[in-house]
């Protein structure tokens, strides 16, 4: 059972996950951000590996990536940071990066490092199902790594069923046809989509992301999924208030 599945055993409602880009706003902030998020009751954390060409990300995360890269962030630095906090940190971590980073680092070397950091779950937005099945499934299995699939309002039911079968843990349910950070409220159309997925009674947990930015959208998303992921809104908060603003940000999301 992976770290996220263990989490689900303890808690499977109103899960809050927060995304941040490693190396933003400063190179050495990773440990502090993770510790602040964890101590303020975030259930699991997505660590973004900054990438030069993040196709699935909107302007806010793009900006954080380019700042992080300018700060000198790279895979070796982030792995070192994560490894050093491994024994202290109790909040499950999920790594999010683009497939080219994995290929270039060396697929086996990458997987080994992930495991060495105590991480067992990855999200790779540009890794399609067919590539997973033909190659990455076996690779990840070798290291005990779980891949998170995304579904969107356009994903056909049959494909969702297949993704559900391949999933160990949760499905990342993209709330709208958008890149990250877009829009900002939940429409009736989205509710219809949430209802449709809910009625499919999938075995996997559903974590909703894209466009979740405040207590209203978080609460709404939690009515339909097991929890939600917030990315751009937290990056904006980091940009404005720094790491110090983390507690206040998390509280505002939880409506405390």
């Amino acid at each position: 059972m992976n770290s996220i599945q263990q989490l689900f055993q303890k808690k499977d409602k109103n899960l809050l996950s927060i995304f941040f880009t490693a190396g933003f706003p400063e190179l050495h902030g990773t440990e502090r951000i993770i510790s602040e998020l964890g101590s303020n009751g975030v259930d699991f954390i997505e660590v973004g590996l900054p990438y030069s060409d993040p196709l699935a990300d909107g302007p806010t995360i793009q900006h954080s990536s380019s700042v992080a890269l300018k700060n000198g962030m790279n895979l070796d630095v982030v792995f070192e940071q994560l490894q050093s906090l491994k024994d202290k940190n109790t909040t499950p971590l999920v790594l999010m990066g683009y497939v080219n980073q994995i290929i270039k680092y060396g697929e086996d070397a990458f997987c080994q490092k992930v495991i060495d950091c105590g991480i067992d779950t990855v999200i790779i937005p540009d890794l399609p199902m067919v590539e997973y099945e033909t190659h990455y499934k076996a690779l990840f299995a070798k290291y005990g790594i779980t891949n998170v699939f995304l579904i969107t309002p356009k994903t056909p039911d049959e494909r969702i069923r297949k993704i559900d079968e391949l999933t160990e843990g949760f499905i990342y349910m993209v709330a709208s046809s958008s890149i990250t950070g877009a829009k900002g409220e939940i429409s009736e159309q989205q509710i219809d989509y949430f209802e449709r997925i809910k009625s499919m009674n999938l075995k996997s947990k559903l974590i909703i992301g894209f466009g979740i930015s405040d207590n209203t959208t978080f609460t709404k998303a939690c009515e339909y999924g097991n929890g939600a992921i917030i990315g751009s809104a937290f990056i904006k908060s980091l940009d404005k208030d720094g790491v110090e603003g983390t507690a206040g940000f998390v509280k505002s999301i939880k409506g405390e």
Binding site: S66, Y105, P128, S177
Partner: protein, 392 residues
């Protein structure tokens, strides 16, 4: 054939469709339909009629007398520069707009580097009365002003890409991001790049170049096959078109010329095959320029159309399998070649195409060797650069 992609869109180890899930239905729709559409009688009839009467095809195959004399070989130029809108790009846009129409699409987006593909896209959108948005790097908007004006006159909206190096790579990123947010739109991609089936679709539409070369050479030389074909490669669409019907004819030497910028090892270059490694860019596994952590490099070339850190997956395969020979030319070699062609033949080539001519002095040509150079575009858009060079 060996050079067609397999069912997952791979040429050897290159290709595939590394796309976010949001794009899956759209790409799948195209994948399920493109071959059937392209091979249908109604498409072929409409496509060929437009190529003939609108684009002005067949483009001539011209025996370059003085150039041949200078280099001691029989050099023919495939005159894609004479196409409507001034380059080979229109072969692809005419084809894709007809595919888009058959798929019921009402909005077209495109990326552009030098602006040639943007103009060719805006042109067919005007022709077919379809909304058109072109993404173009901010830096390219500055250095290709005439093409920006053309696109606007044709009714297209030109959106500047302000991320990264502000060139073709970033324009492509922005186009893909827009596509993700608006999955109903048709992404009219300009080269043999992107997720499968885009590289194959574009190659099939540009294949008209080598289809014509076969009968034109037969008429002029008695043989369908030349000894050598030379084409410049950025993403690689004109080269794909010029090579396409000769890929299986291994006795035909294929030479792809990349832009070396200030020199292959100068740090300011776009010679992808020399500097790149295997990776994924714009949805396709190919060879690309990147740093040790897989961050995509910012390439450089004087030519906006070759300023791209990857090559199409077909070309990566041709390079890897050694079916094509990859050479390169620097900015200054390309400029010299452009002036040489202009003075010898009275033809001002596009800077991109000039790179193909720039390798002539590096080849050991035989007196009976038949060489075809794909003259992919004309130089009107590059006059500013040429004038500056003249003054220096």
């Amino acid at each position: 054939m060996k050079y067609n992609p397999d069912k997952n869109g791979y040429y050897g180890e290159f290709g595939g469709a590394f796309i976010p899930e949001l794009l899956y239905p759209n790409v799948k729709e195209l994948e399920d339909n493109y071959i059937e559409i392209i091979e249908s009688e109604s498409f072929q009839k409409e496509y060929k009629a437009l190529l003939k009467d609108y684009v002005g095809r067949p483009s001539p195959l011209y025996y370059a007398n003085r150039l041949s004399e200078k280099y001691g070989a029989h050099i023919y130029l495939k005159r894609e520069d004479l196409n409507h809108t001034g380059a080979h790009k229109v072969n692809n846009t005419v084809g894709q707009i007809l595919i888009a129409k058959r798929l019921g699409k009402t909005q077209i987006i495109a990326e552009t580097g030098a602006g040639q593909h943007g103009v060719a896209t805006a042109t067919v959108c005007a022709l077919m009365n379809v909304e058109c948005i072109v993404f173009m790097g901010e830096k390219d908007i500055e250095r290709q002003a005439p093409n920006v004006a053309r696109m606007k006159m044709l009714g297209a909206k030109v959106v500047p890409a302000t991320s990264g190096s502000k060139t073709l790579k970033d324009a492509t990123n922005e186009a893909i991001r827009y596509w993700i947010q608006n999955p109903e739109t048709f992404y009219l991609i300009g080269s043999v790049v992107g997720p499968h089936p885009h590289p194959d679709m574009v190659a099939r539409l540009q294949a008209i170049i080598s289809e014509e070369m076969k009968w034109q050479l037969k008429e002029k030389t008695g043989k369908e096959n030349p000894d050598t074909i030379i084409a410049c490669v950025g993403g690689g669409s004109n080269a794909a078109g010029a090579f396409y019907h000769y890929l299986e004819d291994v006795e035909v030497e294929l030479i792809a010329v990349e832009a070396a910028g200030l020199g292959v090892n100068s740090g300011e270059s776009a010679a992808t095959s020399q500097l790149g490694e295997v990776g994924v860019i714009h949805g396709s596994k190919t060879i690309l320029m990147q740093d040790e952590y897989g961050q995509i490099a910012e390439p450089y070339s004087i030519s906006a159309g070759l300023d791209y850190p990857g090559v199409g997956p077909l070309h990566a395969f041709l390079f890897d399998s050694k079916r094509a020979k990859f050479m390169n030319a620097t900015d200054s070699e390309a400029l010299q070649a452009a002036f040489e062609l202009t003075r010898l033949e009275g033809i001002i080539p596009a800077l991109e195409s000039a790179h193909a001519f720039a390798v002539l002095p590096k080849l050991e040509l035989q007196s009976d060797q038949v060489v075809v150079i794909n003259l992919s575009g004309r130089g009107d858009k590059d006059l500013q650069t040429y004038i500056k060079y003249l003054e220096e």
